[in-house]
Amino acid sequence: MNKSKQQGMSIIVQTVARWTKGYIFLFGVYLTFYGHLTPGGGFSGGVVIAVTFVLLTLAFGKERALSKLGKVLASVLDCSGALLFLLIAALGILFGGAFFANFIEKRFPSANFRLFSAGNLPLCNISIAIKVGASLFMIFIILAVRRVVEINGKRKLISTEFFETPEKGKSR
């Protein structure tokens, strides 16, 4: 393989990343789904999910990670996670009588220590995990992969294809 074309880090890092990325992602999902039973929760689970994509970006280069979670999908997930959390809170007014009322638990009291228990707390955890995961991956892309540099008063984009590069396609 041509050395200048090779993306990402050495083959050791790539092999280890290929083996561990699924388990790291699964750990993030576990932290999210069992957040109301064991230590963890939506925020830490979402950060672990974001770290999976950061690992993909560092090991295999940005194209591999961005083909899985691109700009449009990340921003849609970011907004929908925040809106879902707000929606769950607002549904409490409709069914429970107060903002953030735990209406599912009140209507259908569940067995304790089960995965499907505690009403809408797991739903809140999942929405927060989606929101935090997508937005932290976006902040990684903005700050670390993408670079806007000012040269002679002109802003230029360096070393990324995350957002569309205007010079290539449209100017001709």
Binding site: H36, T38, G40, F100, N102, A118, G119, C124, L136
Partner: protein
Amino acid sequence: MVEFLIGVFIFFMIIAAIIALETSDLLSAIISVGAIGVAASICFLLVGAPDIAITQMVVEVLSLVILIRATIRHDLTAINGDREFFGLTITIALLFAFFLFGFKAFASLAEFGVPAMSRFFDAPSNTYINSGFKETGASNIVTSIILDYRGFDTLGEVTVLFTAIWGALAIMRVYSRKKRKNRDKHE
């Protein structure tokens, strides 16, 4: 024993913070900041807060990666300039006053391991511990507090994160919206 271990970790954190401030190499400073985060995570674990420990550890890893990738390539590694004598004196005096105040304040607190609010019968922490599991059905009390009793806090946290990220996205773009429209018209 726990108290002694936490004291050792706090001493380690203070040394790492001083190194992070005083070193002239950016990479060493970032690694020192990471050491502070790891020690803080272990402290949380020793006190008995695994939720915060997990979050602290994971966020520390992510922020360290972002800091290294965002700062190392820029040529900002040289930090120079001397400390002023007057400012240093005032800093030390203020630190000494703060230390005395903290010593007095800690002497009036309850014993280590006993929550400060638990001596009142109807304190919020007692309510959470006694009836949190019954009212929300979540066996993790921390989740029942942050998503049920204190849901507004979590909503505010989500709003802050959302606003910060979209603000960063708006600042770091290449072309403003007006310019892009003008460019499209010319073509």
